[in-house]
């Protein structure tokens, strides 16, 4: 197979360079072993599991409401995504109808989260590139999104919006909040366009990111990549187009064709206006009515699954219900699907670029470390 040519003979590899668990490029605890030959990476191994907190097990046996608010703590970037998806599981299992207004507000939260996640990604990418100035600018633009999230949820991270049957009443969007979101969106749109303009015409950055960390379409599919990482190779799969909650909205699926760092960055840059578009539509057509459906009875249910598209890929939650308690909880997060892609993307590059190639796949391992066996040190 031609793609596999990238992985060279084991004999060539001279040394191993290990990074992590605490490292400046990673920030999060994970371990990267790079097998190098003259500073060129020939093979890579990413070890996760350092972050393992046993969330699925803590969820086991908890009443479903409590288990759901626990899922939020899986991750501080996708916190809305996790709680939303695990509420969806319960709603599907019990057959609860969610008021339309609540669905809209969930989508708004999700898209705001996408905005901040993508900007964080871009900022982190720039930081690893060594471009402190751009990283800082992106963090500043992101600050507007964080402020919006705080206005709605009362907290900048972990806002606890979704609850089974709708959203918590404190997160209701009143006129003032809607107004603020609109203003914030205008600001973000203006700033991000300006930034994107500047970014793509910088020759030094472009020379660093083009052709680095290339993932072919075939490999991406084979390695099970998901989300923007997959879309950057030209595969137009975005679960949002199939999700019921997104049915009322009109948006484009962004793809790029090269699968390198540049494509990855561009997919995120271009998804930002799409997310803004969705939020605007949602605000314009926000239906009136209740935000929580409180008339439902708890029933026992077999294992129920739910997939949603979160900023970094496809998120899967499933559990069964027994006496109102959670059983057999399983969560599969986008980052775990992308690890293969990360390892593959590093191959053939200089070590500094290899780190960039890992970062291009949006590594965030807090959610990844669940299903891994603990080894005693």
């Amino acid at each position: 197979m031609e793609e596999d040519n990238k992985i060279t003979d084991k004999k060539v590899i001279e040394t191993e360079v290990t990074m992590g668990t605490v490292h400046s490029a990673a920030i999060e605890p994970y371990r990267v072993r790079l097998f190098v030959e003259d500073e060129i990476v020939r093979d890579a191994e990413i070890t996760v599991g350092i972050n393992h907190r046993g969330i699925e097990r803590i969820m086991e046996g908890l009443p479903v409401e409590k288990a759901n608010s626990l899922t939020e703590k899986i991750c501080g970037i996708c916190s809305n995504s996790h709680i939303w998806n695990s509420c969806l599981v319960a709603e599907k299992a019990i057959g609860i109808e969610v008021p339309e207004r609540a669905q809209y507000i969930r989508v708004i939260m999700e898209e705001l989260e996408r905005l901040h996640s993508h900007m964080l990604y871009l900022a982190h990418g720039n930081e690893v590139l060594g471009h402190e100035t751009f990283a800082m600018r992106l963090f500043y633009i992101r600050e507007t999104v964080m402020e919006l999230l705080r206005i709605i949820g009362g907290n900048r991270v972990q806002y606890g919006v979704s609850i089974i049957g709708g959203i918590r009443p404190r997160c209701e969007l009143d006129e003032m909040r809607i107004q603020k979101i609109r203003e914030g969106l205008n600001l973000i749109e203006e700033k991000i366009t300006e930034f994107a303009d500047r970014f793509v015409s910088d020759p030094m950055i472009m020379s660093r990111i083009t052709g680095v960390g290339v993932l072919t379409q075939k490999q991406a599919i084979k390695l099970g990549a998901t989300g923007p990482t997959l879309r950057s190779t030209g595969v137009g799969i975005d679960l949002r187009s199939e999700m019921e909650s997104y049915a009322p909205f009109d948006f484009d699926i962004i793809t790029q064709n090269d699968g390198d760092v540049k494509s990855n960055l561009l997919v995120r840059v271009l998804e930002i206006p799409e997310a803004i578009k969705i939020i605007r539509q949602a605000l314009d057509n926000l239906p009136e009515g209740k935000i929580t459906n409180r008339s439902w009875e708890m029933v026992d249910a077999p294992i129920t699954k739910s997939y949603i598209e979160v900023p970094r890929g496809t998120l899967y939650h499933s559990y069964a219900l027994e006496d109102g308690r959670v059983r057999n909880s399983i969560i599969r997060t986008p980052s775990i699907a992308n690890i293969g892609a990360m390892q593959y993307a590093t191959i053939g590059h200089h070590i500094t670029d290899a780190q960039l190639a890992i970062v291009q796949c949006d590594p965030c391992f807090t959610c990844t470390d669940r299903a891994i066996q603990i080894i005693k040190i």
């Binding site: 668990t21 605490v22 490292h23 400046s24 920030i27 999060e28 605890p29 599991g49 350092i50 972050n51 393992h52 907190r53 046993g54 969330i55 097990r57 803590i58 908890l62 409590k66 626990l70 703590k73 899986i74 991750c75 501080g76 970037i77 916190s79 964080l120 900022a123 930081e127 402190e132 990283a135 800082m136 600018r137 963090f139 500043y140 992101r142 600050e143 964080m146 907290n155 900048r156 991270v157 972990q158 965030c364 807090t366 470390d369 603990i374 040190i377």
Partner: protein, 148 residues
């Protein structure tokens, strides 16, 4: 004020160790340093990734099993005088992972941070607010100065 304490107050190197929380606290702290809105450097606080350079260790997360030893090693690598700031509910209490429902003993979480290394200052929140982190770091300075 002696030159010693004066110089210590004018340049504080902070190292961030992330021990397995949810990314929330972590990113908020990085935010304090990288977002020009908060700009930690104006309070003479500098980010470093090298324990030999650090004065203050900011720990987030509940300290998972695999992170216990690295954390201790890093703490030991910091030359005296040093201070430890635990940031976020996870670092203070083990977070929801350890203490929620209290009756599930956790084999995965070795925290809170206090159980592993001495903590000098605590910043509550989930996630911590950047302004709390900054005022926490600014308030921890006298502690640094008094040491030795």
């Amino acid at each position: 004020m002696s030159l010693k304490s004066y110089s210590r107050a004018r340049a504080v190197h902070v190292m961030l160790v992330y021990t397995g929380g949810c990314n929330g606290c972590d990113i908020e702290i990085v935010n304090c340093i990288f977002s020009p809105k908060y700009d930690a450097e104006q309070y003479k606080v500098f980010l470093t990734w090298n324990p030999r350079e650090a004065d203050v260790l900011v720990v987030t997360g509940p300290v998972t099993k695999h992170n216990e030893k690295p954390l201790i090693e890093i703490y030991n690598a910091i030359p005296e005088p040093k201070a430890v700031i635990a940031a976020g509910a996870c670092a203070l209490m083990g977070g929801v992972y350890k203490n929620i429902h209290g009756d599930i003993p956790s084999e995965e979480i070795m925290g809170p941070v206090e159980n592993i290394i001495p903590v000098d200052a605590k910043i509550p929140g989930c996630a911590v607010r950047p302004e709390d982190v900054l005022s926490g770091v600014v308030a921890a300075l006298p502690l640094l100065l008094d040491a030795k």
